[in-house]
Amino acid sequence: MWYPIFKFEIAYRIRRADTYIFFLFLFLFSIAGVEFIFQGADLGGIKKNSPIVIAKTMGAITGIFMILASMIMGVSVLRDFEYEIESLMFVNPIKKKDYLIGRFLGSFTVLLFVFSGVFFGMILGEFMPWYHPEDLVPFNVFNYLKSFLIVILPILFFGAALFFVTGALSKKLVVVYTQGIIFFVIFMLTKAITNDTIQALLDPFSLTTLSLATESWSTLEKTTQSIPMIGILLYNKLFWVALGILVLGYGYKKFNFNVVQTKRFKKKHKLTLKPEITNNDVAIPNVEKQYDLKSKWKQLKHFSGFYFLSICKQPSFWAIVICGMIIILINSVNLGTVYGVDSYPVTYFIVEELQETSMYFFIIILVFYSGELIWKERGAKLNLIYDATPMSNFIQLAGKFIGLNLIYMLLMLALILSGIIFQTANGYYTYEFQVYFYGFFLEILPFLTLYTFIAFFVQVMANHKFIGIILVIIFFISTILLSAFGFDHELYLFGGSTLGSYSDMNGYGHFLKPYLLIKSYWLCFGITLLIVASLFSVRGTETNVIKRLKMSKHRISKSLLTFGSSVVSVFIILGSFIFYNTNILNEYWTNSKATDFRVAYENTLKQFEYLPQPKIVDVNLKVELYPSTRDYTAEGYYILKNKTNQAINAIHIQKQIEANVTLDAINFEGGAKENTSYNVFDYHIYELTTALLPGDSITMNFKQTFTTEGFESGQSNSNIVANGTFFNNNNFPTIGYNRKYELSGNERSDYNLPERSNKANREDINELVNARSGSDSDGINFEMIIGTDIDQTAIVPGDLLKQWTENNRSYFHYKSNIPMMNFYAMVSGRYEVKTDKWLSTSNAKPVDLEIHYHKGHVYNIERMMASMKASLTYYSENFSPYQYNHLRIMEFPRYAKFAQSYPGTVPFSESIGFVLDINDKTDVDIAFYITAHEIAHQWFGMQVEAANVKGQHFILETMSQYAALMVLKQNYSEDKVNQFLEFQKETYKKSQQKEAIEEPSLALVEHQDYVYYAKGAITMYEFQKVIGEENVNRALRRFLEDWNTNHGKLKTKIDRYATSKDLLHYFREVTPEDKHYLIAQLFETVTEVEND
């Protein structure tokens, strides 16, 4: 008997447009599915159509669009109640079993049809022109079929069961809409589970399950093997199917076929009135009716409150609020983690966490409640009463709009509250309400507000709730895709870009003003949309689009016209102002223009790459920093020396390619004529009047100006900022061809550029003489006077000779006591400073220790200071004496997340050590460790430089890791060292699995940080355990002695830098003959790190 019901359900759905629209939507989305799901993710060597990628994409798409399942399944039974024909249905001689089974199977069949769009779409996607053949493995339809059956089908069944039952039992459309969120909550909750197996078992979309199931697979296996239908994946699927059956069973039991109506009646107690009361004597008072602006304003306020309250009354909204709060409390357990150590629950971390996890909730509210609000009167069948009143369409629409925005704000306040609860629970009481406020009301709210305009406009125009919802989602996705393809100018990418990061040091800095301007511009656009929507909105019974178009012109009231045209005027004015800033004061380059430029740069100038050029041997500059206006000038000279054995006739100068940098007043001692052929590339050739003979030097004077004019499109430069400026000499003129301007990655083949390796071979004669890519110096004498705002401290390498104020500015004169590498950073900020002194055992002269930090960031200063002392002691005793008279750490804003060593100076990001919440019982002292690592670079990097070939980072980074590890070992228990190494092992494993190209050995490592950092630390620890710490140190001591850049016994006799081969030679010297195999095994071959 169920069959006719099944057939009816299918026949009904076949005639409905939304069935096809949903299918088409999934189909079209899935074509770009892999790109969308994996955008920005590094797939490593795994191909775009590998079974695992297909499976994960299918899982993710199903997850995102589970809401479609609820729209299809949820309305199946509910429909009878919506159309109020349930009594007609249920009096028929059909059994409850047949009715439910027929309906369920019918809708489920339709659901499968709709989701087959994913299957077909993804297959078609494989043949899209944006893939290179090398991205793909040969087409295999079974990969898609298997993923569809294994990944999609079971969870679709569960979803179908759940949504079918909730729809049938609740009989409320709004429950149907919002139940997709239940799924998301489940998903998020599984994400918070720390046990991998349980998480994988419970993940409804099998994303973590698939990761776990293929954890031990190599890249090749992941590329070719089909997904394993055994073990965890099988259990995962069985679990969800079983749960689905349970839900169905429960629904079957609870669904009441006969007494649906009685049950409904029970709920409302009947209202009774005293029978006859004559009310004839009630006089209806005469009241004033007002239709002026003031009354419209009152109406607007009233509407806003009314619609706000109407959403507040929905349990689904409170479900969202509570879920949002709970998820965040679960999720924000790990904040700003560095090497496994969490940061203090500083407000901006909390805010970022809240923003990230709540976005989905906000979007759900936006998409669904905008539909709800637009359809509210029609849903309640009250529209004709509304429409016959003299209210203005615009006021009503604007009221709904404001009401929804108030809802966002309410959720935001709830989230802020949960954030504060979290901080309090963790014993952190510096709440920084303004950061909370900005994070939500400044960063998130404008985004939501603007998209709400779109959602309202679309809902009004489409005049069909489901189609409207789908169109809004399509709009979201297309905006994301548009910007992914590089069409991201603020003036046409809807809503403009996001606000830059908040930093304790620099606040929102210079990002804020353009952000607000651009948001205002889009706000005007949005209001215009709202006005247009109000003119087209359905009033009365006319829904035909053309009729509505015709009617719209009668709807424009005078006041609305005035308002509209002033909004449009402001829109145009703001737009022009933004255009003036982004495209006239600054240059705007699209991605393709930038790419073309890089290609042309390489094609034109590559010929000069290894052209003999003089080296910079002396730098003497006066730098004037103007942090408040974000400008600087650098004026002074380089001394260039011809170290080749041939005369040099022309000097090639590369100015930094950036529109707001100008290089003027460049001149050479003895005179030179400028060849302007390559000025397009800011590449200037100076033909010297008299050739520079071998061994001769020449002075090059120049003045460089960096001027910030207005603002740019997108995120602008975050180096030169109001507080916490940090930029290095790569911004100053360099000599010769610059490899960094070349196009990199897969794109090269599209432009017929030859493949390029990340690092030259260890025997490459051109690069053996370079310590850095395109190096234009082998070491310099350095002197700099740097001026900055009066309340800031400016720090560069060298001894501070003098400090004074002049013209209400602070000046600092630095000079290096010994030659140093041509690598220096200029740092300026409003700093607190912690000073100390370190006395070496051998050298009587004390070294000045300084930590320049942002006020309040005192948490780990003592640890860093302790590390400075311990490191200097260990390294100078075991390797060689420390070369400078000072060692400074300077905090910089968290626009970048690293610490970096320069001669005697270590700029250190706000986010990696200063706010870590280190618990001595459970955590490794990472602030101590990172400091030790950076100080080790004063030896490995500053004292000895390595040739710019494979294995370079083995010398620089791995040895620094080793050195820091030894300091850690000396100062902390073995447990801590093991804990640290364990963490390194995990890092190594994780990255290794993602890696596309084959893992190199340490001796030939290129840019694989998991090798030179993580594996390096593990391997060196192993090595010293076998041959002894003292022996390793002896080898390093000898290595430093021979290869010191300035006075190395070997280095001064040989015209090249050290390589890993040289270093391993010293290792062999200290290793007993019978252990030599170990060196080959650890450093020269790729050996798996063992888990012990």
Binding site: I284, L384, P390
Partner: protein, 297 residues
């Protein structure tokens, strides 16, 4: 003030001619609009209530051009649609206040006073704080009229307000309507003939989109004086009678068909002259043939 409808026409996109050249002059007071289901009553009412566009014709309420100056009309319009719902989770008082704001009653105190008065008037005051989901059909209809009266309308349109109400509720509803002052044009559409007779001073019958009859109910009844005859027959005879007489209605009386026919002269043959009722007027328009129409006009 008078509502003057001239030559109003509307054809739907599917070809149905909902209104065909309707011309009516409706004075203040109650005006009844009779017609069978699907005759175009609701289309007509919605057009008057600015909710639907007409293809041709003009409608004026005093100086207000109803079809063009929609907002001006809405300021003096009260409208109770044939079918409407209520937000379930809010109270009558809250929703009535909400509508009062929509209708431009900005002063909070005045609004409160007005809402209270209307709740009293419609006998809903006691349940004003209850959720609307608990309202019965009659209460809902009374709420509907309270809402329509908020702005002291000059034109009140009520579309089949008593459909589905029990007789007590129906009376209660009409009591409220009948109290409205003489200043208001009240258009009441219904297919219950007695409603019109009891309440309306003027009426029109609409059938198939046309006005087939208009006038004062008593006058119209008077036109049929001495023309309506009744006879109780057996079921088998019905077709014969339909052939030979102008049968305007047939209904069962104690299980046997009783027919009314229209005739200028006494047909004898067992027919009895009866007092014409408004129902006879109505049925004569709906089921009588053209020749009969002429004879009445």
């Amino acid at each position: 003030m008078e509502l003057i409808i001239d030559n109003l026409s509307k054809t739907y996109s599917n070809g149905i001619k909902a209104l065909q050249n309707i011309s009516l002059e409706i004075p203040t007071g109650m005006f009844g609009l009779l017609g069978p289901n699907g005759a175009g009553k609701s289309t007509f009412m919605r057009t008057l209530a600015t909710l639907q566009e007409a293809d041709n014709g003009t409608v004026f309420l005093g100086k207000i051009d109803v079809l063009q100056q929609k907002n001006e009309l809405r300021q003096v319009l009260g409208y109770l649609p044939q079918q409407f719902g209520l937000y379930p989770k809010i109270s009558a008082e809250f929703l009535l206040n909400h509508f009062a704001v929509l209708k431009g009653i900005s002063n909070k105190n005045q609004r409160k006073e007005l809402v209270d008065a209307l709740l009293h008037k419609t006998n809903l005051y006691e349940v004003r704080t209850q959720k609307l989901s608990g309202f019965s059909g009659g209460m809902k209809q009374r709420f509907g009229i309270a809402q329509a009266l908020l702005n002291n309308p000059k034109l009140l349109i009520v579309d089949e307000p008593t459909a589905g109400l029990d007789p007590v509720e129906r009376n209660r509803f009409y009591n409220i309507l009948s109290e409205l002052g003489e200043q208001t044009v009240v258009i009441l559409s219904t297919h219950i003939v007695d409603d019109v007779k009891e309440l309306c001073t003027n009426m029109a019958i609409i059938n198939k989109g046309r006005v087939s009859l208009k006038g004062n109910p008593l006058q119209l009844i008077d036109n049929l004086k001495n023309k309506v005859y009744q006879k109780t027959i057996s079921k088998l005879e019905l077709e014969d009678y339909k052939q030979n007489y102008q049968v305007i209605s047939e209904k069962l009386f104690l299980g046997k068909p009783t027919i009314h026919i229209l005739s200028d002269t006494n047909p004898r043959d067992g027919f009895v002259l009866v007092n014409a009722e408004l129902e006879d007027v109505y049925f004569s328009q709906i089921f009588g043939n053209q020749s009969n129409l002429k004879s009445i006009a």
